[in-house]
């Protein structure tokens, strides 16, 4: 497929390796991937605080960039940014062609599960990973069945993709509770946020995993910060890093 890569601000400027791994994974899977220039941000940092008007020019700039290169789908390695981009494009005063982009956005896990499943055999990776089912991906994009719902278990898209990697042991924390990031919440309510993040790490550690694997770089940045501060023996990995290694 002809894909456009949406690289959220955080990934572009602080975690470029996540974008590089995503690009390489998608190319290895045979897709034609381009990175339209001029992207900035999905607007989430502002709209999460209610600042819709302030965020509008940034979202408009993102749409302009993405509209410059026609594609079949727009893929991003960040669930909350994909959700925010779609929500923001829908609610903002943007031209009709920008509105049409909404249906093209896919978070990477979602894309590899729903749109273009991996057909090839993957190389084995012998390690134990604990899945970080971040909230926006879990509850808003439906990457899994959240624990509140009285629905049959399963339907976890991250698990479905990871389980294609031979010899990989997949676990997850006992609860699918928020990691405490919440955008500016991590700064505004730093005490509560820090406690939530420490509790989350404790639960990941309790699984016996040697790495956390997730699909949301912002939550991973927060958890990674706690891991580093407390010298916890856990690597914090994006799904794309494991896939790039396995392909």
């Amino acid at each position: 497929m002809k894909l456009s890569l949406f690289v959220p601000c955080l990934v572009n400027h602080l975690f470029p390796h996540i974008a590089i791994d995503t690009l390489q994974v998608l190319e290895k899977l045979g897709h034609q991937v381009s990175y339209p220039r001029g992207q900035t941000c999905c607007g989430q940092m502002m709209t999460n605080s209610g600042c819709i008007e302030i965020a509008e020019p940034a979202v408009a700039a993102l749409c302009e960039a993405l509209l410059r290169e026609p594609c079949d789908a727009i893929v991003a390695p960040a669930a909350s940014c994909v959700f925010a981009a779609k929500e923001n494009i829908e609610r903002m005063n943007l031209p009709g062609e920008a509105k049409a982009l909404v249906d093209k956005f896919y978070e990477l896990t979602e894309f590899l599960h729903d749109v273009a499943p991996i057909q090839r055999e993957l190389k084995p990776i012998r390690r134990v990973v604990s899945m970080q089912m971040s909230c926006h991906g879990l509850r808003m994009l439906g990457l899994g069945t959240s624990s509140e719902l009285a629905l049959p278990p399963g339907g976890n898209k991250l698990h479905a993709i990871l389980s294609r990697i031979p010899e990989l042991t997949i676990t997850q924390p006992a609860r699918d509770e928020c990691c405490g990031f919440g955008g500016t919440f991590a700064v505004d309510e730093s005490d509560i946020s820090g406690k939530m993040a420490r509790d989350k790490i404790e639960q990941h550690v309790a699984t016996g995993a040697d790495a956390i694997v997730g699909y949301d770089p912002s939550c991973m940045m927060s958890l990674g910060g706690v891991v580093s501060r407390n010298h916890v023996q856990l690597e914090v990995l994006h799904l794309c890093a494991l896939l790039n290694q396995a392909l």
Binding site: H13, T40, R139, D191, M221
Partner: protein
């Protein structure tokens, strides 16, 4: 200066052992709720049906209230209407004073907390006894509730033992819950027998019957309402359901969602006064019609006050019920009142994780309503935590790829060059609990430019 939720929460969250205990107590309720909800095959369909039913109620409220009050009157229940909390309090005081009543036994009612009824009556010489065990503990301590279903969840049994030793004469150092409950029961028994009026809340008001449902686990509402010859029930006007089947649907969900029981232990339907007794029903607006007139705020009145959103809220469990401005804490409290808090910070006491909306038995769009309050506050430039100043700057930077690249280049440079202690200072709230990520040498954009748009992944 107005105090933010973060400041209000600080003393609670920084007592780590107590936070862990508080969180675990609430998660135990959440776990029981999960078991119960998942034992009902049609649970998710019930949530949808209950949501649709309550939406129907909200969109037909005037007609349903008229039907309900007409049928109540024909059943012999005397209906009063209160536009405000003050009117509600005055109506209740009038009913009691006209009949010379001096002692009121109350079951739990969040509406009376909302209206500050008890101090109002006490100023007028009417003794009020809370008969719900949790509420009674708080009344003896002079504490406000910290939760709408388990109002004394912030207290440990040892603290209650001490309180009862002082106030009820239990043995010094005794903290056995059964022993303490027995002592409360004995003391309350006297109050029940000497009261000359009873008050209950209302869980569901059935329009087609002119009857109302009261649910408790302790039987205290029934004990109160059946002894004296005067029963005053009070309800917010959103408590209406169209018919008995609708009430039954909510009764299947209420206790399961609240505490993980299939049903509350005592469920009474009051349809008419016993001969020689009176039932008065006060229907209260107090801001409800104003909030309902806003399409994006109205759905909070689907709420059946089960508290499931509070139990699951990761922020509430770590900040405690007393950290909030409004008397109802957690997601539902923020959804009701997050547009109107002292420091404008309440709507930000939330990570927008969405667990509340996913657990709500009537699908109140909780986190979405909290986000809506943020929008309204931002629109009026009433933002907390310095956001009025820095958000426009963020917007200026983020709308331009060049400015963004420059700002982040400077940030990476700063992160690389600054010694760790300085970074911790500059990092503010972030670095209180976490390190900043190690800054990469270059952005993805720069890397992509160098690699000519073709990565080495082929």
């Amino acid at each position: 200066m107005a105090i933010t939720h973060a400041k209000n929460a600080a003393s609670f969250v920084n007592n780590e052992a107590r936070v862990n205990w508080h969180s675990a107590a609430l998660l135990a309720l959440r776990d029981k709720r999960d078991l119960q909800a998942k034992s009902v095959d049609e649970w998710e369909r019930m949530r949808e049906a209950a949501s649709q039913m309550k939406l129907h109620v909200l969109s037909h409220l005037p007609a349903l209230l008229e039907e309900f009050s007409a049928r109540c009157e024909s059943n012999g229940i005397i209906v009063h209407w209160a536009r405000t909390a003050m009117e509600h309090n005055a109506i209740v005081a009038d009913i009691l004073q006209q009949r010379g009543r001096k002692k009121l036994v109350k079951s739990k009612s969040m509406l009376t907390e909302e209206c500050h009824l008890v101090p109002y009556l006490e100023e007028r010489g009417i003794e009020c006894i809370e008969t719900d065990l949790g509420e009674r503990i708080l009344q003896l301590r002079g504490d406000p509730p910290s939760h709408i279903v388990v109002p004394a969840i912030h207290l440990k049994k040892e603290e209650i033992g001490e309180l009862f030793h002082e106030r009820l004469g239990t043995e010094d150092g005794a903290s056995d819950p059964t022993y303490l409950t027995q002592a409360a029961r004995e003391s309350l028994r006297d109050d029940f027998l000497t009261a000359d009026a009873a008050m209950t809340g209302v869980n569901m008001a059935i329009a087609s019957e002119g009857a109302f449902v009261v649910c408790t686990n302790e039987g205290n509402a029934d004990m109160g309402a059946h002894l004296p010859d005067l029963h005053i029930a009070v309800m917010g006007m959103e408590k209406i359901v169209p018919d008995t089947a609708s009430a039954a649907l909510l009764m299947r969900m209420l206790a399961r969602s609240a505490v993980g029981q299939p049903s509350t232990s005592y469920n009474s339907i009051f349809a008419a006064p016993r001969p020689g007794t009176e039932i008065h029903l006060v229907i209260v607006d107090n801001g409800r019609s104003r909030r309902m007139s806003d399409r994006r705020h109205a759905e909070i009145y689907k709420c059946i006050r089960c508290g499931a959103c509070i139990n699951t809220c990761p922020v509430y469990r770590r900040s405690g019920g007393h950290s909030y401005d409004y008397f109802i804490p957690g997601p539902i409290g923020l959804a009701i009142s997050g547009d109107n808090s002292e420091a404008n910070s309440e709507a930000w006491a939330c990570t927008l994780c969405g667990s509340c909306s996913a657990i709500c038995p009537v699908k109140v769009p909780l986190y979405q309503t909290i986000a809506y309050h943020r929008e309204q506050l931002a629109h009026h430039k009433h933002l907390p935590y310095g956001k009025n100043t820095y958000m426009p700057l963020v917007g200026m930077v983020m709308k331009s790829p060049r400015r963004m690249a420059l700002a982040m280049w400077l940030a990476r440079l700063g992160m690389r060059l600054s010694p760790k202690p300085l970074l911790h200072r500059l990092g503010g709230g972030w670095t209180k609990s976490r390190d900043l990520p190690p800054p990469p040498r270059e952005s993805f954009e720069a890397w992509y430019r160098k690699h000519g748009g073709v990565s080495d992944g082929h």
